[in-house]
Symmetry: C2
Subunit: 365 residues, 2 copies
């Protein structure tokens, strides 16, 4: 294998596929990037949960394959001058990297043991702007459960049904839901993507208008960005019936400024220096105001915020983290919050439309 390509293009590719390379593993090959030279260069990273392939323009002198340790290869390319880089495999898997007056010889690994990416048939694809899918993941991923006892909840549901794509995360105390009606129409599907891989995928997707295509098959999902594709395994099992969880009725509804409410919750939680469960934040909802209070051994805090109320007055208590996480990712200037009783779930929704819903369970006092 021998090829010449620009340092910049090569580094861009490495930075992307590195997201799918294991950093801690007992199999050195999984810490590697597979380089394949044909008419272009293909880089592949695969940690067996997520796999990423990336094509890089290059002048290929002779085809071939090699696996290089991802960290070492990335560091070397990153530090090279901004110029053409020559990469050549010599005898015994020794790889020469040459750029201007720098010359490296490092040991590569045989590509034999490198796990192939699962093949996903490119049918039933939805086109969505990268910016929007990145936002949708950000707005739901924080509610993914960390509890390995219920593995299905450690992922987010991706459901396409009757023209709407819905992403849902539930961790037992709260739910985050985001919907979109993409222009492309496909067959209905429902699958659960591991939270860890969604996190990596959202780092690769850029906040740009260019579209990517999402292909879903029985047990894989593929994000196709053109030069680069990401495949993720899915979580097996039945997801919760989220639509049954979100209350249809309410006793109290308030309309409130999103950023101001976030600031109130953030300040109120400052005096919780120990365990958040022992010290809930209290909400007292009346005609045109919400009073938010918290008392701990450190002191007490009282916040007032203007709120248009509809329905009954209410006193209710929450873990402030759950409100803070949701309010942080809402772009809308104002939101509606729907309360059932002081022991029933409350739901944050947009003032218009049904783009999102954040459900939070209160703390019983």
């Amino acid at each position: 294998m021998k090829f010449i390509c620009s340092k910049e293009n090569l580094l861009d590719g490495i930075n992307i596929v590195q997201k799918a390379v294991s950093s801690k593993t007992t199999f050195p090959i999984l810490e590697g990037i597979l380089l394949e030279a044909d008419d272009k260069i293909k880089l592949t990273g695969n940690d067996l949960e997520i796999g990423i392939e990336c094509y890089v323009e290059a002048d290929v002198k002779s085809p071939g394959k090699i696996v290089l340790n991802s960290r070492m290869f990335g560091e070397i390319i990153r530090r090279l001058p901004d110029a053409e880089v020559l990469i050549e495999v010599k005898e015994k898997d020794v790889v020469v990297i040459e750029c201007e007056s720098s010359l490296f010889e490092i040991r590569g690994m045989s590509p034999e043991g490198f796990p192939a990416l699962p093949s996903v048939e490119k049918v039933n694809g939805i086109k969505i702007s990268q910016k929007i899918i990145k936002e949708m993941i950000k707005q739901t991923i924080f509610a993914v459960s960390m509890d390995e006892n219920r593995p299905i909840l450690t992922g987010s549901l991706f459901e396409y049904k009757s023209g709407t794509l819905t992403i849902v995360s539930i961790d037992g105390y709260r739910l985050a839901l985001r919907t979109l009606k993409p222009e492309s129409q496909v067959q209905d599907y429902s699958m659960v993507i591991p939270g860890k891989t969604l996190n990596e995928i959202s780092k690769i997707i850029q906040p740009v208008d260019e579209e990517l295509t999402i292909y879903a098959t029985g047990n894989q999902i593929l994000f196709d960005l053109g030069n680069c594709t990401m495949v993720s395994r899915l979580l097996e099992g039945e997801y919760l019936n989220y639509s049954g969880i979100i209350p249809k009725e309410h006793e109290t509804m308030v309309t409130v400024n999103t950023k101001e409410l976030l600031a109130c919750f953030e300040r109120a939680s400052l005096i919780i220096v120990n365990d958040e469960r022992r010290y809930p934040v209290n909400l007292e909802i009346s005609d045109d105001m919400m009073v938010i209070t918290c008392n701990t051994e450190v002191g007490n805090v009282r916040e007032e915020i203007k709120a248009d109320m509809d329905g009954k007055k209410l006193e209710i208590a929450f873990n402030p983290k759950y409100f803070i996480d949701a309010l942080k990712v809402i772009e809308n200037e104002t939101v509606n919050i729907y309360f059932t009783t002081n022991i029933g779930p409350c739901t944050i929704k947009p003032v218009q439309g049904d783009d999102f819903a954040y459900l939070v369970l209160p703390i019983r006092k």
Copy 2:
């Protein structure tokens, strides 16, 4: 005590004095900021190594003193809206913090136990631009020793002699020296400031042209920034005679581009993944070129760099970290490097003048 001041001014003051507040201590009062209201507000942080005082403009309604936990106080003020803040001490050291519709009540501590800052007589002061003293600290602090067995080397020497201020750090393997001829002339002095406090001080000093004044007395140094003063204790003992360490003669001298040489050393050290001492970086100096090589179990690297040589050809080996640390803080485009023998020290100096000197000991092979 009761006063009103702007959130912004108060936060600026807190951010500065927090640099002198202990984060881990068994004395809660040392984790606090002393607030004193008189005609202005004075904030004080003191971890017994470094003490910082900062004045903040305020409308003082009644004078008084209180100590507040630094982290809690800082977090609360940081999260308040950008508006006027009222602070008032109530009964039993309870402190009320009020800002728009936010109201905090937190427990303060009696100011009795708070350690007073040492008083430093403001005579014999040198005026230096903040930008320059910040740069001088940055260019010498990295060579401060971490070895507590020779406590005097865990600080930097500040020496004023015959119109020149010299800062020197030595860790046993290398030396960093930076000089300046300030306009103000004072009596000669020599003192050793702990590296840890220089690090904090350099964070507070801004890269601006405004001057600060350095006052030195027998056992304290004071940096006076006008609204804010920092006092540091000194290290006791005799510093090394640095001028005897720097060789006056050389056998080989090269002139080389600083940034390019830095990049060569950084790349060469990439393949040292274990212990730096086991794998030195080799320099082979000939007429118009330096060849830098390194061989480890990972592979090998060879770098060539243009270098104007004067004197004898030489092969010598170094711990690359020592070169990298020095080259990173040199602003000059080119530098001269003076070599004695392949077991004697080498010195990096400016092409013109004597603003700095970096001495590095080679590794015997």
